[in-house]
């Protein structure tokens, strides 16, 4: 029989679960391939030596101790927002409003810093900032959650829209509280009294943020994997009908989880305003609410893996910035490389779940 011309060239079959070392081998292979493709693109398009480009990317994150601290701070903030959206994601509730929830948390913190000094001592201002920003974030996520639970509205669109509301609100208050007058910016808040500024640990400006986020990470891991709430979230996410069947109040779990999600986003906003920047701008969250979606997905919603994925994304974006300045290429070239690498990493998941069976060469039967 002439098999050659008749059988389809290949077909795709689902794989059984692979052992962990093979899945990581596939992911590692994807990364190597991505670097090779990036090298080719670099040489072809810019004529630069790809190895030098890679060295530059690495130096962008690890070149100086200041760069390392900035890297860690950025990883911590991205991780914080990612940890925030993860409980909702585990519940299959797509909270794309991390950006707005963090921003509104930052707005609440800034409001306390601007309005309260003179009325309250410094420590009380910090307590007010903490409480109000966490509450603000929770409310910002709670509104879409309430609508979803009550009227089954689409949380993806609703949370997304809430981002724009938050951005516009912050833009408005940036003008209300502008300093100096006419600049349209808030500028550094309380530069002299430093009221509402979070304490600095030793000489390390970013250490406090990093420690707080590390603690949140551990707590979130325990909450999601070992608590009764975490179990309820998992059941609701897998099947609402099963949840109802065992008497879980689905509406309540949705609202509770979204409140938590928003609260942690609010915390991220608080850290950005109170600890890192001491100011508020409409772009202070810097798209982390959206990058967090990718961090969470890449890590399969596991808080511990998310440390790795958020590191990867920050590392790549800082590297992209570095080569843009070093080789006087524009920022877009760095983004192209980042895109290629992410494409390969996400694409490797396909090869972990499926395999491609090629047509057997004619005459070779087993």
């Amino acid at each position: 029989m002439n098999n050659k011309t008749r059988e389809p060239l290949f077909h795709i079959a689902k794989r059984a679960a692979l052992p962990w070392y093979r899945t990581w081998a596939i992911r590692g292979g994807a990364l190597v391939l991505a670097l090779i493709v990036c090298a080719l693109i670099t040489t072809l398009v810019t004529g630069e030596n790809p190895l030098q480009v890679y060295v530059a990317i690495f130096k962008g994150s690890f070149g100086t101790s200041r760069k390392v601290w900035v890297l860690l701070q950025n990883v911590a903030m991205l991780l914080c927002v990612s940890l925030a959206v993860t409980p909702a994601f585990r519940m299959r509730c797509w909270n794309l409003g991390g950006e707005g929830q963090a921003l509104i948390g930052g707005l609440a913190a800034a409001a306390c810093m601007i309005l309260l000094p003179g009325k309250l001592p410094n420590w009380a201002v910090i307590v007010c900032m903490t409480v109000s920003s966490i509450l603000a974030g929770a409310v910002w996520a709670g509104i879409p959650a309430l609508f979803k639970a009550r009227w089954n509205t689409n949380e993806t669109l609703f949370t997304l829209m809430m981002n724009y509301v938050a951005t516009q609100l912050v833009a408005y208050y940036c003008v209300v509280w502008e300093s100096p007058k006419g600049s349209g910016n808030i500028g550094i808040i309380n530069p002299n009294t430093q009221i509402g500024w979070f304490p600095q640990i030793g000489s390390y400006k970013y250490l406090l943020n990093i420690l707080i986020v590390a603690a949140v990470c551990v707590a979130m891991y325990i909450y999601l994997n070992f608590s009764k709430h975490g179990y309820e979230i998992a059941v609701v996410g897998e099947s609402e009908r099963t949840a109802r069947y065992v008497g879980i109040k689905v509406d309540r779990v949705i609202i509770r989880t979204m409140l938590l999600s928003g609260a942690v986003c609010g915390l991220a906003g608080l850290l950005l305003v109170g600890s890192t920047n001491h100011t508020l701008t409409p772009t202070i969250v810097d798209g982390r609410g959206f990058t967090a979606v990718m961090v969470s997905w890449l890590a399969k919603f596991n808080p511990v893996w998310m440390i790795l994925t958020s590191f990867l994304l920050v590392f790549l974006s800082r590297g992209a910035g570095e080569i843009a300045t070093r080789f006087s290429l524009n920022q877009s070239f760095g983004d192209i490389l980042t895109g290629v690498i992410l494409f390969f990493i996400i694409g490797s998941e396909f090869f972990i779940n499926y395999r491609i069976i090629f047509r057997r060469p004619a005459g070779k039967e087993d």
Binding site: P8, A13, T242, Y245, G247
Partner: protein, 511 residues
């Protein structure tokens, strides 16, 4: 018969899934024109996989297929159609808002001429005895009518080799008879027909030849006339089985659940249950018969507290005569009231269990709230999972395997095992043996009977009338959401129950 050229020859067909699960292992099969072939085998024996390769859904890893003696390659359902092969799947693939005729011509090349199509459809119908109105919308049709549309669709496209995957699973006995008559007409017209089934009496009533698969292997084929149910079952299972279901006399039955005037509407406002009243006794199995979608699901879910009720009452009666109203309570408050009620729902992985969670975590579904700790107790469910695996002989690599990886029978054992572990006073089961092989089915019957002998009130919704007639002490027949009658299980006639399913009171004077 053997000197004819077979319409289809499948030679040495092998199909593997996941690289290692062998669904079909070097299967040989001949299909002849003018003959009805019953492809018999338990669930997971590879019947559907084999036929899917014939209809272009899967591609065999090894082996050849020949049509009328000529070797062919079937890469897609389109190729299969070009060769005159049509398959009617268990789940219909029709567009609800279109008419029968529109569904039938959907996707065909050429100009859209519904009038001509309707003519052709009418011609096909009168040739074989179908009853289809080409202009009726699908959403207005009964399950049996939809199935007819699927068959006509295949014939319209010129198929003369027809494969039907468990066609009777959704039909009443009367509709089954009608379908069989039509299939016989098609056979006499020279078409080759394959029906996939695991029901013995259908094989005997309809087929000319029977081919048996077991664990993906071809066991043998023979003319139906020369064999019998016992022999076929033994071939299917691989060892002799006793085909009787135990039915001990109920011990000291007392009313346990009393339903009065229960009326339920679904979200769209359609009446699903209409003034349903009955009593379920302890130590007794109350069978519920009916065409699928006649309110069985709503009935069980209303008792379990999952279905909003328009009016009526559901009373739980304790041994000492205390009565508790269950309507208006959700499953959690029913549990908190101390009413021990277990429910094995129809949709095992979509409702009873979480497919992606492992056995222990699924055991935890019922018990995770226990204790005041913020954290879940994982030890007790783990032990329960191990007990269930051991006692019910669940075939699984371990208790940390996700349940979706288990076969249907094992999934059901896990679910039933968990539900009876809480020592219930009421056990609700919906299609408890659907999709299960013979051995697993009998394990489930045994478990249910054991619950009955422990004084549990069992409500058993079933689809196989033969089983209901052998297992249930009383049978409640539902018809369009109303109680068509309640008959004692002992001595009930299949024909009478079948009539009651289609017509209130079975067409006799109402009680």
């Amino acid at each position: 018969m053997d000197n004819k050229t077979p319409a289809v020859t499948m030679r040495n067909i092998t199909k593997r899934f996941d690289g290692k699960v062998v669904a079909n292992d070097k299967v040989w099969l001949n299909i002849y024109r003018g003959e009805i072939l019953a492809l018999l085998g338990e669930n997971g024996s590879g019947k559907t996989t084999l036929m899917n390769m014939l209809s272009g859904i899967y591609f065999p890893d090894e082996g050849e297929i020949a049509i009328d003696g000529k070797e062919v390659v079937i890469r897609s359902p389109k190729d299969a159609f070009a060769l005159g092969i049509g398959m009617i799947h268990q789940h219909f693939k029709l567009v609800d808002v279109l008419t029968a005729a529109e569904n039938i011509v959907l996707g065909l090349p050429g100009k859209l001429d519904l009038k001509a199509a309707s003519e052709k459809i009418r011609a096909i119908c009168s040739a074989y005895g179908f009853e289809v109105d080409p202009n009726q919308k699908i959403y207005n049709m009964s399950v049996s009518q939809k199935q007819t549309v699927e068959i006509v669709k295949v014939l319209y496209r010129g198929a003369d080799i027809l494969i039907l995957d468990e066609p009777t699973a959704v039909l009443t006995p009367q509709e089954t008879d009608k379908l069989f008559a039509v299939l016989r007409n098609m056979r006499n017209d020279g078409k080759a027909i394959v029906i996939i089934t695991h029901k013995m009496h259908e094989v005997e009533a309809l087929s000319d030849r029977v081919a048996v698969l077991r664990h993906g292997q071809f066991i043998g084929d023979m003319p139906t006339k020369t064999t019998n149910a016992q022999e076929m079952t033994n071939m299917m299972v691989g060892h002799p089985v006793v085909l009787n279901i135990d039915r001990p006399e109920p011990k000291n039955p007392k009313p346990r659940i009393e339903v009065k005037g229960l009326t339920v509407r679904d979200i769209e406002g359609t009446l699903k249950l209409d003034d349903v009243s009955f009593t379920a006794n302890s130590g007794e199995i109350l069978g519920v018969a009916g065409i699928s979608g006649c309110g069985q699901k709503e009935l069980l879910e209303a008792i379990a507290g999952l279905q909003p009720v328009e009016k009526g009452s559901i009373c739980y009666i304790e041994d000492d005569g205390t009565r508790e109203e269950l309507i208006g309570k959700d499953p959690l408050s029913i549990q908190n009231m101390g009413v021990s009620l277990s429910f094995v729902p129809e949709d095992r992985l979509g409702m009873g269990l979480v497919g992606n969670m492992d056995l222990s975590d699924n055991m935890m579904l019922r018990s995770f709230r226990r204790g005041h700790s913020l954290f879940t107790d994982r030890k007790t469910p783990h032990q329960l999972a191990e007990t269930v695996v051991r006692d019910l002989e669940v075939n699984t690599p371990g208790v940390s395997t996700p349940v979706r990886r288990l076969s249907g029978g094992n999934v059901q054992k896990v679910l039933v095992g968990r539900e009876i572990a809480s020592a219930p006073r009421v056990l609700l089961t919906a299609y408890a043996v659907r999709g299960l092989d013979i051995n697993s089915s009998y394990t489930i019957y045994d478990l249910i009977n054991r619950q009955k002998s422990e004084g549990v009130a069992v409500i058993y919704v079933g689809e196989d009338l033969d089983v209901l007639l052998e297992l249930a002490d009383r049978i409640l027949v539902l018809c369009g959401g109303k109680v068509s009658g309640i008959v004692p299980g002992r001595g009930a006639k299949k024909r009478d129950v079948g009539l009651m399913m289609t017509k209130l009171g079975g067409g006799q004077t109402n009680e």
